[in-house]
Structure formats: C-alpha cells, structure tokens
Subunit: 255 residues, 2 copies
C-alpha cells in the first residue's frame, strides 16, 4: 500500500480535481484505490457523486476513535476499484480537537495501516490550510503531490508547504518525498509560460514531467460527480491524468 | 467608517484580488482605506508590494492584545490613502489560540472602532477556512462580499458561507448584509454562462450587478505587487473593480 497526500496551502489549485482523477486513473489501470476527503468543504465527496450529508464517519472520527465499530469506514463509488472515505463540514472541528491529543500529528500515520491495508493506493485530499489535518496527511504519506498554478501567489505558497514537508520529514517521516504538479496550465498565456520556466529553473527535479492543461471538461466532470476518465475519456485532461498516474507509480515504487 | 469582509470557504475564488483592487478603487475615489490581511498566506500583503517577513503586528496580535503599544499597527502603501495591516504565517495559530478567549467571535467587533476609526473603509481579506478568523470578520463587518466563480464547487460552497452569515447575524451582528460577486468570469465558456444563470435564478437580489471578467492583467499586477488600478488603469479588470467600488458604496450607505 502506498499513500499519496495531495496538498497545498494555496486555495483553488486543483487539489481535489487531482485527487479524484489520479485515483480514477489508477483504478482504471487495475489498482484498488481509497480516496480520503480531509476537507470540510467535502469537494472530493461531491467529485465522485456522493452526498456529504450522508457521510456518517469521517477521517476525524477515525483519528479520534469516535465512531460506531459496526459502521463501514469507506464506501464504494460508481467506479470499479475506487472507494471513498468521505467528508462533511464536521471536519472543520479538526483544528480545535486534534492538537489536544498527545502526538496528534502522527495519529493518521498510526491508523493508516489499519485503514488502508486492503488498498494499493490511498490518496488524501487536504484542505487549503497548514493545520493539523495537513500535517497528519504528510506524516502518513509516502509522497506529497503538490498541485500548483503558474501564478504568483501559488508559487509563493510553495515555500511554506516545502518548509512543512521538511519539518515532518525530520520529525516523523524520513522517507517523505514530494512532487510539484503544474495544473490549469494555459499554454497561450505569457505569464503561465514565464512562471512555468521559473518553476523548472528553481524546482527542476521536484517537478513532474506531466502538466495538466486548462480543460473545461474538468468543470463538467465536477458537476457530473464523475471523474474525467469516465466523463470524457478522450479529453486532454483525461489523457494527462493517465500519464500522471504512470509517472506517480514510477515515483512511489522507486522511493 | 464602514467595514467589508471579503470571504468564502472556497479556495482560489479571488478573495485577495478583490480586496486589494476594491480597496485601491475606493482610495482612487478619495476615500481612506485600511486593508487587513487575515490569512497566513499573506497574499494581501504581497499584493500591495509589502513583505510578510517584515510584518511585526498582525490582526491576531491585536485581538489577543499581544503587541508592543508603541508599534504602528498599520503602514501606508505606495498608493495614496491605501493602508495595510499586514499578515504573516503566525496567523495560522488563530484557530488554536482564539477559541479559548471568552466571546472570541466578537473580539474584532469590539476592537474595530479603535483600529478603523480614522478610515472611511476597512476591508478584511479572510483565509479559505470557516474558522475563528472568518467569524470574527463577519461579526465585525457591515457587509460580507463573497467572491465566487461560476463553477460547481464554488457554488456548492455558498450554502456553508451563507449559513455562517445567518448564524453571525442572529448571534452578534443583526445588520450584517451580503453580496455575491462573480469573479474570473469567462464569457466564452458554456459552463460559466450556465452557472451564472443559475446564480441569477437562485440568488438574484444578493448578486452584484458587477461581474469581474478573467483578465490576465490581474496576474501581472499580483507579480508587480501593485493594484490593477495603478498597474493597468485601462484594463477591463481595472474598469470593473471601479464599477464594483461604486456599487459597494451604494450598498453599504443604503443599509
Ligand atoms: N485543469 C483544469 N481546467 C479547468 N478547470 C479546472 C482544472 N482543474 C481544476 N479546475 C476547476 O478549478 C476549480 C478549482 O479546482 P479544485 O476545487 O479542484 O481546487 P482545490 O485546490 O481543491 O481548491 P480548495 O483549495 O478550495 O480545496 C474547480 O472549479 C475545478 O473544477
Ligand atoms: N479576474 C481574474 N482574471 C485572471 N486571474 C485572476 C482573476 N482574479 C484572480 N486571479 C488570479 O487567480 C488566482 C486566485 O486568486 P486569489 O489568490 O485572489 O484568490 P483567493 O480566493 O484569495 O485564494 P485563497 O483561497 O488561496 O486565499 C491568483 O493567482 C490571481 O492572481
Ligand atoms: Mg479542494
Ligand atoms: Mg487569498
């Protein structure tokens, strides 16, 4: 079992879109995948067509050991081999409840073998906030996948996320690696091209080869509650998320 | 003095871009404006060309009354009549420190007359998180300005933000109004047009008449650390943010 934390403090950089579509691409290739929604917005839950109001047990309940043992922790989605541990607004309480637990940053690291044992991949979608849930995700993960746009605020955000990754690596998770993924890239936009070059110059080995282009079919797939692989199998975004899945498999198997 | 809270749980919907440019448009019209960065990402601080590492006192220090009294709370920016109460990563501690204070949700409401007395407008940029800082912003504000994209996750996020506004209105701030602002609108995109129609049908009187189009000059102005009004005064975005300023003035003066 390998665990991937999709994370970035910057909002709206396609963390959720990457989590659901990377997961669906891995499932299409035959891997069994668990998606975990760690964001109170519950967009990952929506992205697979589930209803946040029907989610009884979230990752927060599991970390606090506060759920009926008979309740199933994850549910299948309409996509074969793709399962969901859903989210709902109660995840907002994490920042208040978790820090009081001893060793709170490694609660997920300890629970993951129990939650993820049956899966080939567990992919965590984190909220846009450098808090307790994000540090849990990084402490538990084999690799952090950091979606970023080729825009100023997104690139500035990298310093804090990479600093957190360094701290978590030193304190809890020595083999934690990371990959930066350029998302919503508009080839025709001069700023995007210039800042992509900047990312290449400053983060060369950390950047994935795969780039996700801007593709309105992804907006449609969010509305449809269906990953792009199923919603528009021949779209540019579907193709690129399949290529990304290949690249991530190589990366996690190597490290 | 009127206070505007620019807020939305959804990440990347142009909260910061709207705060800096609405502020600059009001300053251009002759109003004195204080911008308050309530986000640990400190993007508002960057957007006016300031350095988050040089910010000694943040809004969190003020709410906790934990700052040297001789220190100036705000600094001028390079734009006349536009001032900044800056942010830095220490704002991340707000969710842990504030909830222990008695009546923590109204700390800013009580302090605002002291902080904002000399200004015509105080504009608050909040983080993408339904937490203590956002509720403080809403309890203190005359009106909430909610930037939203014409996209599925953004529209879904409105239910939680409007529910929070209703609660804050009932508990602490009975005259709190709100306005939804469509941002990054791409007229050529079918999904954007369809969901804009949906917003009109479901939120008619709450929606501003002004729409902010997608305009790459805004990406440039973020890099330049200069509001669009100064960076590209004749751009579509500069024009629309000036129109928005007019509309907001009417709205807050009416209520
Ligand atoms: N490549 C793309 N092309 C076009 N639209 C995209 C693309 N990737 C994501 N989007 C859209 O952009 C918006 C932001 O993406 P998403 O919600 O996945 O980001 P996020 O980082 O998870 O946001 P948050 O910080 O709020 O969790 C969504 O409306 C999504 O549908
Ligand atoms: N109208 C627009 N046209 C083009 N780009 C825009 C527009 N408005 C904002 N942007 C860009 O989109 C990105 C998101 O905007 P911004 O950072 O202001 O959103 P935010 O809601 O403050 O994000 P966060 O949730 O991370 O605080 C930024 O890179 C910004 O420069
Ligand atoms: Mg998300
Ligand atoms: Mg912002």
């Amino acid at each position: 079992m390998k665990c991937i934390a999709v994370t970035n403090e910057k909002g709206g950089v396609a963390k959720t879109t990457t989590t659901v579509n990377l997961g669906a691409a891995l499932a299409e290739m035959g891997y069994s995948v668990l998606l975990v929604d760690m964001d109170a917005q519950a967009n990952l839950t929506l992205a697979v067509g589930a209803d946040p109001q029907e989610i009884r047990v979230t990752i927060l309940d599991i970390l606090l050991e506060n759920y009926p043992s008979a309740e199933a922790l994850w549910k299948p989605t309409k996509i074969e081999r793709l399962h969901l541990l859903g989210g709902n607004p109660s995840l907002n309480l994490a920042e208040r409840l978790l820090p009081h637990q001893p060793g709170y940053e490694t609660l997920l690291q300890k629970k993951l073998p129990f939650i993820g044992a049956r899966f080939d991949y567990v992919i965590l979608d984190s909220p846009p906030f450098l808090g307790a849930l994000m540090s849990n995700a990084l402490a538990a993960a084999d690799t952090a996948l950091i979606p970023t746009q080729a825009e100023f605020f997104s690139i500035y955000a990298l310093r804090n996320v990479l600093a957190l990754i360094r701290r978590i690596r030193e304190q809890y998770n020595p083999t934690l690696s990371y990959r930066l993924l350029l998302t919503m890239f508009d080839q025709r936009n001069r700023i995007h091209r210039t800042l992509y070059q900047y990312l290449h110059d400053h983060f060369a080995e950390g950047l994935t080869e795969t780039v996700i282009p801007i593709d309105t079919r992804l907006r449609e797939s969010a509305i449809a509650g269906t990953p792009i692989i199923q919603h528009a199998p021949k779209s540019r975004a579907a193709l690129q998320y399949r290529v990304l899945a290949q690249e991530i498999i190589h990366h996690v198997e190597e490290t």
